[in-house]
Amino acid sequence: MVATTDTIDIFLQPLGIYILALGVGFLIPLVYRVNRNSAILVFFTALLIMIVIAGLNLLAIINGASVMDIETAGIKPPFSINLRFGLFEGACVLAVNTVALLGAWHYLPRLKQHAAALLLYLILVMGINGMVMTRDLFNLFIFIEITSIATYALIGMERTAKGLAAGFKYIMATSIASAFYLLGTIFIYYQTGTLNIDDIIANQQLIIGPIGFIATLFILTGLLIELKPYPANGWGLDVYETAPGGIASLISVGVSAGVFFALYKVLPIMDLYLTSIAFIGGFTFLISNFIGLKQENTKRLLGYSSIGQMGLLTLVIALLVQLDASAHIPLIIGGLFINHLFAKAGLFWLAAIVDRKNIKDWSSIAKHPSLLILLCILLTALVGLPPFPGFWAKWELVMLLASEQLFGWITLILIGSLLEAVYLFRWFSYARNVESSESVEKPAEVSVSFLQQIPIFITGLLLFAIAYVMSRFMNVDNQLIYFPLMAGFAIWLIDRLNVRVKSLIMLLAVSIGGYFLTKDLEGINKLFSYLLIGGGILVSFATLYRHDDRKGFYPLLSVLLLSLATLLRAQTSLEFFFAWELMALSSYLLVMLGRNKQNCDPGIRLGNDQKNDQKYNQINAIKPALIYLLFSLASAYFILVGFAVSYSATGNYFLFSLGDSGTSTTLAFSLLAIGFIIKIGGFGLHIWLPEVYAEADDDFTAILSSVVSKAGIFGLIIIAAHLGVRADIGLNPAYVLGWIGILTATFGALMAVFQEDIKRLVAYSSMGQLGYIVTGVALMSHLGWVSAMYMTVNHFLFKGILFLSVAGVILRTNERFMYKMGGLIKNMPVTFTFTMIAIIAMSGVPPLSGYGGKWMFFNALMDKGWYWIAALAFFSSAVAFLYMFRLLQTVFLGQRKLEHRKLREAPVILLIPQGILIAIIFVISAYPKILIDVISTAIDPWISNTLVWKGTAMQAHYGYWDAPLIMAIIAGAWIAPLILLLLFAKTMKVQKVEQFNIVYAAERPRRPEETHFAYNFYAHYDRAIGFVVRPRATAFWNAVIEWTHSFAASLRIFYNGNGQTYALFIIMYFVGLFLVNGGLAL
């Protein structure tokens, strides 16, 4: 017994992997001849045991076992080759082997056709394991070559013309790289007399002079080339493009992992080159992601992403070593690496089973929810959104870099990540794109068996699991941040239930969850919790009006609402950022669930010619959703850097210590403010807003505008409270913020004036109203903040009403263009009344609640001496009348269309929340003190109270405002003439007439469409000052997009497909490295 356990113990040594691979490997052809299935069984058993070996050993090490050094032939190093199995090696091997097993599962249909294929696969895996574990330079070479040869052979087995050509280029390139490596190895040996890496490191003083320089350079070039740096990586891309998914995934994640690990091992002797390595990595990351923008071939796209990720890893490892921050390696490198490993492998397999060459043809999976979910999970992980490992790693990385003041690298990494998100999620957009019926060539539906999806599914699960483990490692104590995801998952489980049932369950769950999450908040957070959670649930109640199934809507909505709750709860910037990203992601997916009836090209060109109805009608939610995601990500990155700047100054993540940022305060404030402004849709950064609001589901737009946009306001107030007020920030950023706010308000209002689409109109209006709030926050005075909060509450109230009533109108008329409606007051008197009250409240006309906000705002502006802003605010609130009247006039008043005569009132479910909101408006209008007292209490901790009340009247430095009295006077002034009119009406014969009984003489009205003055309603205004609102921002961003794509196109001219060119680049790469690192000086 003892003996057997010993043998098992010995067998379970890491060395067992090699024994197993070689032994079983060469056994397989034999078994294969006997029985194919048993060969496969053996094959899988071998892979499984490899995992078990790696896993058990890793567990042992985690449990405190010492690092295992395995010597062969019984001789101590340096004279023997030896393997090392430490924490990093173990983790890497385990991950690679897991991917290999899943990959084999995925690739089995092809693998099982040849015994040799099975053998080669095993050898390949073993080679990778060897690369990771070996501590011998030459041995490393052998493992690299073993891996390469196995790869060549596997590639060659797919006898496609393209695959063979690519394979040959691959061989050429890697053989040159290996040659470099071998030369370097031998020179190192020449100088140090040893091949053992540890010995070499120990004796690195021996590596001197030109020979030492050349030797290290050779080794570095060899390894770097294997990692496919730009531009010497065309061959790698060709292989990614042409190799079958199973192989490509192993090359991308497995081989790269091995080589990367090898690089990590030799880095200690590469001190001289660390900067070069960092630059190469960063450059490759950035450029690959740039070029990815132009790529439409699925696998090549993945190739670019893969190369980019490896570039990022290279950059990070070089930086970490340079900064001597090896303590961060497990989290950052590990996180990024594992993230890349699983996500990329999963994507390659997904690409293989879906088998659509062009990403534009991926719409064929639009009706496969499981494939879509998998794609979404993997892409989300790859982009580094929560809760995946990449998110934590990126956070750690940025914080680390910030604390070292390396903002250049942060910028580069974030730009690269953003670009990557662009093309990856564009791919998702194509996949989500349901084909329209008129499309001529329809890609055939994909038929994918469930079994094929399992490996991918497992990668997804692993990603979640690892993410959780990572968050534990990062000391994220607050497990509640996962609550939204869990709730979402739970609700997803019941997604098959009746829509009413599940929506009610969702509402209930969110209410309970939201209550428990937010019950112990106080101050501003408490106030916002009423608004975001209470308001969110109230507005979400209206989603019940839809009868269709809405798969996925409710889980995502619960994630969104609960992530808002966790956002409010956040104590640290990490929690805040986590919730923020979760909110962005879930709202992106929710937007994407919106209008999806027609086919469209989700390419990210912005804006559209809205006068061109035909074209305009064809839009659907996919393109705006993508733009929304990108702007959200950009916003998140600004916030990330802002937090990082603050962290670099304070050294901790707590939100309340933001204010201690010292000299970095202004920078942190500006970055954070930009981030939130993007989310709010500030001037110049607003272009995502109208399209998203227009194309999202009508009820979800209400949530977006009235609830989600408040998250941005919340963030702004939080940073203003922590950074702006306490830390005595210089006035300038706040003043700039004030201008941004008021320009947003002005241009939002002006844009809204010229919209034909009802949702766009309300969207621009929403943007404009948020502009006032931003300026209010920027005032940094008590009155300013009270006005900002007051307007925030108001904005929630009337935007909720407006978007819900618009939803009702759209539901009934099935139209979005206002000129196609008209006269609906007869059918929908309640909706009209609600809309009218909301609009009067919004316009700021006394006595309704909007006036209070405007009054306090104006007084605060005057107090502060921001006169120009006050003038613009005045102007924009006047302009607001134009679009508000237009909304009422063209939709509810004027001539009703014949086909609209039979319309019914909007569903009661839509009206109930509106009614409640209206009631709140009236209460606040009559007794604003209720609300203002709450607000004032909430912000008193930050700014001392300056409000003066005289009875019911509020006193400011300049003016005074007595809301109940105003209400009474206006009621009196309104009722008196009404009575007069009613009296006189008694003396007359008043005839109720129909819509065409209007004044006409020469020609009588023929059709309501011709008689309804609605299209291009403000044509004269357009003639007068329309030039101000020509879509410059859109044009600018389009130019940015165009330029970026052209730039990307020009970056890839190196990839001409010729193997010799690629080889030349490799040699030039070496020469370049030689020159840059001072080769001539030797």
Partner: protein, 211 residues
């Protein structure tokens, strides 16, 4: 206040309209109004009406040119409370400016029906009386009062503005005396007027009463 439910006898057929258009136009029958129950009030009201004659700015024929000088310095009808009004809703006096062709008659009827009572019609020139020089024209009506009630004729071809002023003063006298009941006349004999109108207007593609 609003008479929403009318029994079927009170409604008009509006047969000149398509089914779709039927729903767009009111089919209510116009109704006569009584004088105010108190005589003094009625007299006062008539006085006010007489001194505030708002003429509909619709020149139906050649006589329209004679209306223009009324407002000039020489005749200054403003003195009598006369003013032009571009919309029939607000006007109280309709001046038929001479001959009325069939095509114009249709517009005259529309505009007249859109005016709110009490409303007054002044027929200018000889043509509304008996066709005048257009007595044998294929498209000019010969007896205008067959189609609309006329409160006052001012004959001539054409009458000069002086006569018009005199006519307006005469009309004021009549209004003050409470004799101008054209609107009620029209309503009371509505079917007769309507049948006369329809006799000459062959393409009756409008509601029977243009509210």
């Amino acid at each position: 206040m609003f008479k929403k439910t009318l029994n079927t006898e009170d409604t008009l057929k509006n047969s000149g309209l398509t089914d779709e258009e039927q729903q767009l136009f009111s089919n209510a029958r116009p109704q006569a109004y009584e004088p105010y129950p108190i005589k003094a009030v009625e007299d006062f009201a008539n006085w006010a009406r007489a001194n505030s004659l708002w003429i509909l700015a619709f020149g139906t024929g050649c006589g329209a040119i004679e209306l223009r000088p009324l407002m000039t310095a020489r005749f200054d009808a403003n003195r009598f409370g006369v003013a032009g009004r571009p919309t029939p809703r607000q006007s109280s006096v309709f001046v038929i400016g001479g001959y009325a062709s069939v095509k114009t008659l249709k517009r005259i009827i529309r505009s007249y029906e859109q005016m709110q009572g009490p409303k007054f019609v002044i027929a200018l020139g000889i043509c509304p009386v008996n066709g005048g020089m257009y007595f044998d024209s294929y498209n000019t009506v010969n007896q205008f009062d067959q189609y609309l009630p006329v409160d006052l004729y001012i004959t001539g071809c054409m009458p000069r503005p002086e006569v018009l002023v005199a006519g307006i003063m005469e009309l004021q006298k009549k209004i003050k005396a409470g004799e101008c009941n054209g609107a009620n006349l029209y309503v009371e004999n509505f079917d007769w007027y309507k049948s006369n109108q329809k006799k000459v207007i062959k393409n009756w593609d409008m509601p029977d009463y243009n509210w």
